[in-house]
Amino acid sequence: MSVPALATSAVTASEVMADAADGERSIVAFLCRECAYSAADAAGNARTPLPPTIRTIMVPCTGRVSPLHLLAALADGADGVYVAGCLEGQCHHRVGNFHALDRVAFVRRLLESVGVEPERAAMFTMSAADTPRFVATARGMDATISRLPRLPRS
């Protein structure tokens, strides 16, 4: 799948999922550099156990994530995708997280229209200091995805 790598992270979803064992589910998380990634970093520094299914990709702003990034990740083997950005009104680029919110809503409707569970795509917002919320959303997403059947891939 020819999807351009995200500018700052220089990785694609298929690359971060390459180490997933057979049969293991994977969830790709697109994290905003300003907020959610800092929260994830703090969780890592504190050695908080996170679900092994989560694969993170740092983006400069959640407004960078397009429907194609989310769908290509699902098509390339992810069982779920989520976008985590700044709190509403606190985007460092003013409206990036609002754009992401609507794009994720669009992808959910698109998934629904082809018979795929819309819960596979989600959007969360959190502040840079809110490590507990990052951990809770990661675990919540892992629980949601583990309840769903595997995606058909042709």
Binding site: L71, L74, A75, H99, V116, L151
Partner: protein, 149 residues
Amino acid sequence: MPLSARGRQVAGELRGGTSGVSAGVLGCEVVRHDELCVGCGRCVSACPTGAMRQDDWFDPAQLFAAPAGTGRGVLAAALRRIARHEPTGPFRVPDRVRTFRGILFNADLCAGCGACVRACPTGAVEACPVPVGDAEGVPRATASAGARP
């Protein structure tokens, strides 16, 4: 049907054009090819009479019809890999998603100026010459000079 200021200007400058009159008076018939459309909305901004409008709904079938290799084609290929069935009906698009929208074309408002054809980056809007003479039995004439943008 009221014309916009730009519409009146265009209609006044062109031979045969009358201010306030629309419906093909300026020479070409506009045909849209939805499968080539990328939803950029340039035809909407270019249209002087408001005949092109961005819809609040999007039909995923339009994605699946897009040619492979284009942006929408790549998106459709990804979606097709995980799809459980053929896409069902149009759905409402969230406000801030600007490109994944259908374009509504109202032929009654179209003045036939061809501004949308020149604005379209993918050739999804085509201008065809309109038949000359009355409707019955007269073969379609080729475009006279200036009729085609």
